[in-house]
Symmetry: C2
Subunit: 428 residues, 2 copies
């Protein structure tokens, strides 16, 4: 058997531990598939002594991930620390400078610095691979970059943040308010250290921006993702949606149109019986739409030790097998600067707002919608006890621009209390 | 830009024409992704003059695919003729002998001769790639071979014959009998020249055997697939299943157990609301279950010009990018000879049979089931006009062996008319 592939593994949290287990438990299997052994030379983490349930005694230890990344006995630097900057970026840069290949699960780093890192790696003849950064165990980066390489991609869509999906399905199944489920998720350790990354849609937006780069041959443009989180979704929204046969999902859509690259990540109503509507808990789903392939749907666990470690190992095995691919599917220097375009496709919208309970309030709201060119499919005023009245409106198909115009007009009516909630309906 | 990758394309039916269109329409895109142009040097088909809606005038022509496969200006032989033997096999062997890489959509050839062909190719340093042979546009071979390479695979399942799924969903949606829908499908050109390949489950069995080889590191063992087709499924079966909340799908399952490799392809009842139950028409779905990844579900078009050509191009682009992988994910010589094992996992079964309408008939059938250790969940005798009575039985969980024992016993009762239909229930 030929030369082993030697890894330096930085980050021994859930995913890192999962990678160690796979390498220890499946040594023979991996060697048979790769044609060479896959070994760990050394590891790095914040605290050395901690019991992680795996035996690390055969591996070298580095307190400093930069030192790990540049060790002579490391061929591939596996970065599982996370964080857009700081040690993860420093160590990745050091690995590249030393000509090492990099496997990372770090969507924040790549969504922020992916172009510069990919250019540096390619200039040095090194790889950066990131299957584990998007949709956990689903091999979606590979499916898109390689499996659909013969397609002009039309659209990439997906539910890619398991935590948000957990919160939304838990709210619906248990009938609990957002704040309560948020606390539960926090206690269960499902949330990032900065929970805004999850519930603000940022983490999912990072993933969408990475897929869009591959799909459309453009530089990663996370700054241009139209982002909306799930913080303002109430249990009432979920109930109203259910009454109409819909569920609310944090859905990302990226597509290239004649006007430019559209990328949005926002809560959407999707039919409850559709594949997206049926997604429960932390499951992810990605839809890749190519001009030849049609819609390819991929579903699987979006997070967790096993699934994410499986994705890391996919990249490691590729490298062990001698597969050398550009980070984003074509040389980084050839990626186009995307022209960001606002999503303009029309869709029905769900609107929930609170009105002052006085004569003519509903008429004023209806007038604002009419003036924005938005026609109403259904409107319902709910029972109420105090001096305000909750109102639910479902519009016919309209654009986000027209809707934003109306949203601006609501304030001027003087009868709308607080901020209305607007949720797009996708009938995918 | 570096040296072009030059193809010799044998077979200009739907898929071959689709490949020509992608190469002509997406030349720039493919070159950007592959880092080199992808070109067609020459083509071959049965009739030269036929108008195929694509311009072939820039390409060389060979009447003989063997001559095409060995041309000096061909780097990759793309075999889209089909057939387990004959010209497809002869030309594939010739290409390999000449050191050319082969991309094929030919599941019959690989399920029959895959081991010998892969060994020959690997001895010669050539590749055989076959993404298009399984599940049309779904990049499932790549997902399994590469995307899940870090997993010990537990199970591979799928609905992989679009024609059977079309027939079954059409029967249900239109309330038509099997024979009528079969004729429709035939008129629409959905059936293979030998329709038994489709409706007998053979084509789907070929695909399952190919995936099982990759998943479990074993030689392709199509001969050991327990095969059952859809020919005996009646509209009554479909209706009874629907009444119980199920749909009938031709489902393949391969798994490695302590006793050996189980492979079966047979009609099954699946919950109507499940992802598998919702599959309509020619859509395919494959479930890959790894020990780390968990269940990864892939769905897409299982046939057709665009989807299958997309899969062919995935292999072509891999080769253009310098990706070199063993046909079945590890060197063919290292694949184990599988020990075939009969599927033993218990499941509820659906039984439909016709009894002579005389006293004690039902009791005799119930006795046979009881003696085989099979308990009855539900039993129903339907209205009838003549001297025979249709009976529907749903069993509690039982094994195929116990069921076959009972099936043997039914004949001896003297009250069962014809052959009972038995369909397994999967609650995946």
């Amino acid at each position: 058997m030929s030369t082993p592939l030697r890894l330096g593994l930085a980050g021994l949290g859930t995913v890192g531990t999962g990678v160690v287990k796979i390498i220890q438990n499946h040594a023979g299997l991996l060697a048979a598939r790769a044609g060479r052994p896959v070994e760990i030379s050394a590891v790095s983490a914040r605290t050395r002594g901690k019991n992680r349930g795996v035996d690390l005694s055969d591996y070298g230890w580095e307190d400093d991930p930069v030192a790990l990344a540049t060790r002579d006995d490391v061929d591939v630097f596996v970065e599982l620390m996370g964080g857009a900057d700081g040690p993860a970026k420093a160590a990745t840069e050091a690995a590249i400078a030393a000509g090492k290949d990099v496997v990372t699960a770090n969507k924040a780093m790549l969504a922020t610095h992916g172009q510069a890192l990919a250019e540096a790696a390619e200039a040095r003849g090194a790889l950066i691979r990131f299957e584990a950064a998007v949709a956990g165990g689903i091999p979606v980066v590979k499916a898109l970059t390689e499996g659909l390489a013969g397609n002009r991609m039309l659209r990439v869509m997906g539910v890619m943040n398991g935590t948000c999906n957990y919160i939304l399905t838990r709210m619906e199944n248990a009938g609990l308010p957002y704040a309560e489920v948020f606390e539960e998720a926090s206690a269960l350790g499902y949330l990032e250290a900065d929970p805004t990354l999850d519930v603000g849609g940022i983490d999912a937006g990072h993933k969408l921006a990475l897929l869009a780069s591959i799909a459309f041959g453009t530089r990663v443009a996370f700054d241009h993702v139209e982002l909306e989180g799930i913080e303002r979704i109430s249990i009432d929204d979920i109930r109203h949606a259910a009454d109409m046969g819909f569920r609310i999902k944090l859905l990302g859509v990226a597509q290239m149109t004649g006007r430019g690259l559209e990328q949005r990540m926002s809560p959407c109503l999707v039919p409850a019986g559709s594949p997206l509507g049926q997604l429960e808990n932390a499951t992810n789903m990605v839809v890749l739409e190519g001009d030849a392939s049609g819609q390819i749907v991929l579903r699987g666990a979006g997070a967790g030790e096993g699934p994410t470690a499986s994705a890391v190992m996919s990249d490691v095995l590729d490298i062990a097998r001698g597969i050398r691919l550009s980070t984003f599917g074509q040389p980084a220097a050839t990626l186009a600067a995307p022209i960001p375009a606002r999503a303009t496709a029309a869709a029905p919208y769900y609107l929930r707002m609170v009105l002052q309970d006085k004569p003519g309030a509903l008429a004023k709201v209806a007038t604002v919608l009419g003036e924005a060119g938005i026609s109403i499919d259904r409107m319902r005023q709910y029972d109420h006890a105090d001096t305000t009245a909750p109102v639910l409106i479902v519009t016919h198909k309209t654009t986000r621009d027209a809707l934003d115009h109306a949203m601006g007009g609501f304030a001027a009516t003087g009868v709308v209390v607080g901020h209305p909630v607007a949720i797009r309906t996708e009938t995918l």
